[in-house]
């Protein structure tokens, strides 16, 4: 690493980490793309996985979720069609070598439930409350599954892909007026193809 520290760490390192920890917990699959070790486990082994890995990776970084949905109200939809589901993921790491792994599991969209991690990592408390209010995921056994950020009585789950972003709905996009074709259109297209550097 000394010659070119800017280099993105080679994927095999991340794959190795993922495989090592994945083996410990009997992961469904492991991957190390983009220097990010990830292991996928079943919802049933969710708590046990964390309990096992806590010995090696004691630092609880975060817990969050992704709503996978082909139909989206905000942003661009996924490239290919995806099965509608929630992916809950946490990240654990150690505090000596800096190794860390993302643990994820898929739960169904219609009955999003998962046992709570509060018994293993106390810090999961607030993260699970956040995931609960943002995605509507129920964490069974959570001591205090109330709203964290949102005001009382808030309806809907804001981070679900089907939840519209009102600030972008109530105001028309000011860039709609087309006086003439964007003179830069050709440049932009050409730039994209040739990889022209911006503004040099």
């Amino acid at each position: 690493m000394t010659e070119s520290p800017s280099e993105v760490p080679a994927a095999p390192v991340a794959v190795g980490i993922a495989e090592r920890y994945g083996e410990m917990v009997g992961a469904l699959s492991t991957s190390g793309d983009f220097a990010t070790p990830r292991i996928r486990v079943s919802p049933e082994s969710w708590v046990d996985t964390h309990r096992t890995l806590k010995e090696h990776l004691p630092f609880f970084s975060f817990l969050s979720a992704i709503h996978w949905s082909t139909e989206v109200a905000v942003g661009d939809p996924p490239e290919e069609e995806v099965e509608e589901r929630f992916e809950v993921f946490t990240r654990l790491s150690d505090v000596s070598k800096g190794e860390g792994v993302i643990i994820s599991t898929d739960i169904s969209k219609d009955d999003p439930r998962l046992p709570t991690l509060v018994g293993v990592f106390g810090g999961a408390n607030w993260h699970e409350r956040e995931a609960h209010e943002m995605f509507g995921i129920v964490f069974d056994g959570h001591p205090n599954l109330e709203l964290l950020y949102l005001p009382e009585g808030f309806e809907g789950y804001p981070l679900r892909k089907t939840f519209p972003l009102l600030s972008r709905e109530v105001k028309p996009w000011p860039g709609t007026v087309d006086v003439e074709d964007m003179p830069s259109t050709e440049n932009v297209e050409a730039g994209e193809e040739t990889g022209e550097v911006e503004g040099e």
Binding site: M1, T2, S4, P5, S6, E7, V8, P9, D33, F34, A35, T36, R38, P58, F59, F60, S61, F62, S64, I66, H67, V74, G75, D76, P77, P78, E79, F89, R91, V95, S96, K97, G98, G100, I102, F121, G122, G123, N125, W126, H127, M134, L147, L148, Y149, L150, P151, P158, L159, K161, L165, N187, V188, G191, E192, G195, V197, E198, G199, E200
Partner: protein, 396 residues
């Protein structure tokens, strides 16, 4: 008197008043309260001056950045994330850009990396100086505030000199730093490289920053009243810190020698010599001391980086319209407040499909209900301040 003794004494005094069995009073600290740095609210059940139970209420500053990011392009998100932790805006931009670069498999040029590193460390200094200044204010001393903000101003001026913004630099671009911007009708677009005099002024400012660190040691750390107020107060045990995801200086004050700058490679920190200051007891005093030492180390890094600043481009070759290939990555950085990470899920668009922002203050603050139990009201303020959180970083 040893710290354990002090602590034991402190707890025994707490014990005495609990035994009086008076009815609890609910005391609302915040959302508008001088010590909560914004809009944190603590609902405390107090018995006299002793806290029996405390429930932090957050969310007054929730701006929904994770949702907003889904409708924005990556360059637009950069302008957004510097508002998460506004005290060290620049530092929040870097890990996001590194994540995008990883997904696009772009290497920023060495000069851009160095500039990022220098500005990140300046953001660290400015953030820690705010802590050095505001923490004594929680304890009733107003003068350290102005002394330390005086030097912070110089650091902010330097950041502004390069980026044009003091708090929200928006200076990172995919593949490097901002290459050019408009500059008047005669000049048109000009390169946004380091302006003349930057290195020299930076070195001078670093001397002054070290100077104010010395002053703070005299004015605050060495002050017997300050020591009395902070020694043995608000101890975070190591295992609890890890379990709650307490990171950064708060974790190091508890004796864990862990610094993402040493283990990860989001910026070329391995080229520079610097130490990781750690504390022994994990109390408020250690948290103050660790941050003060970190400023010295940051100044040391900046000096080395300025002296070894490489030549070259500011930005790697990138397409004019940034589209990120499908993939997921998590990049974290050692921000002044702790571990700041972005989990970017790209589905091939101009913006992310999902952006999970892991902010340090959120986890650091989640340990509060445990930490504040049984403390006195003045200690609550001392502990709260020592965690060095920013509400924007908590709520995002």
């Amino acid at each position: 008197m040893s710290d354990q003794h002090l602590l034991a004494m402190h707890h025994s005094e707490v014990q005495v008043s609990v035994e009086l069995e008076t009815p609890d009073v609910t005391l609302n600290l915040g959302p508008q309260h001088p010590s909560t740095h914004g809009v944190l609210r603590l609902v405390a059940k107090v018995d006299g001056e002793v806290i029996n139970e405390v429930e932090p209420v957050i969310g007054y500053m929730h701006r929904g950045y994770e949702k907003l990011a889904e409708v924005r392009t990556y360059p637009q998100i950069v302008a957004l994330v510097s508002r998460i932790d506004w005290v060290s805006g620049y530092a929040s931009e870097v890990p996001l850009m590194v994540a995008v670069e990883r997904l696009m498999e772009i290497d920023p040029p060495a000069r851009a990396q160095h500039i990022r590193l220098v500005l990140t460390e300046m953001a660290r200094i400015s953030s820690h100086l705010v802590f050095l200044s505001s923490y004594p204010l929680e304890l009733g001393a107003a003068t350290p505030l102005m002394h330390s903000l005086r030097e912070r101003e110089r650091v902010l001026d330097l950041i502004e000199m390069v980026t044009g913004g003091r708090f929200h630099p928006n200076f990172n671009r995919v593949g490097g730093v901002k290459p050019a911007a408009g500059a008047g009708s005669d000049q048109k677009k000009v390169v946004q490289d380091l302006p003349e005099g930057f290195s020299q002024q930076t070195l001078a400012a670093m001397d002054d920053v070290i100077g104010v660190c010395d002053d703070m040691e005299d004015l605050v750390l060495g002050n017997e009243i300050f020591v009395e107020r902070t020694r043995g107060v608000g101890i975070i045990p190591t295992d609890l810190a890890l379990e709650y995801g307490v990171s950064g200086p708060n974790l190091r004050a508890s004796g864990v020698m862990f610094d993402i700058r040493k283990t990860d490679d989001y910026l070329p920190y391995d080229r520079f010599d610097f130490d990781i200051p750690t504390g022994e007891n994990g109390d408020c005093f250690d948290r103050y001391h660790v941050r003060l030492q970190e400023i010295r180390q940051a100044a040391r890094i900046i000096r080395q980086a300025i002296e070894t600043m490489p030549e070259g481009d500011l930005q790697a070759k990138v397409p004019r319209i940034i589209k990120v290939p499908k993939g997921e990555t998590y990049v974290r950085a050692e921000n002044p407040k702790g571990e700041m990470g972005y989990h970017v899920v790209s589905e091939g668009g101009r913006g992310p499909y999902r952006l999970k922002i892991r902010s340090a203050s959120f986890s650091n603050l989640s340990v509060l209900p445990w930490l504040l139990k049984g403390q006195l009201v003045p200690d609550v303020i001392a502990i709260l301040g020592s965690l060095d959180f920013v509400l924007g970083d908590v709520d995002r």
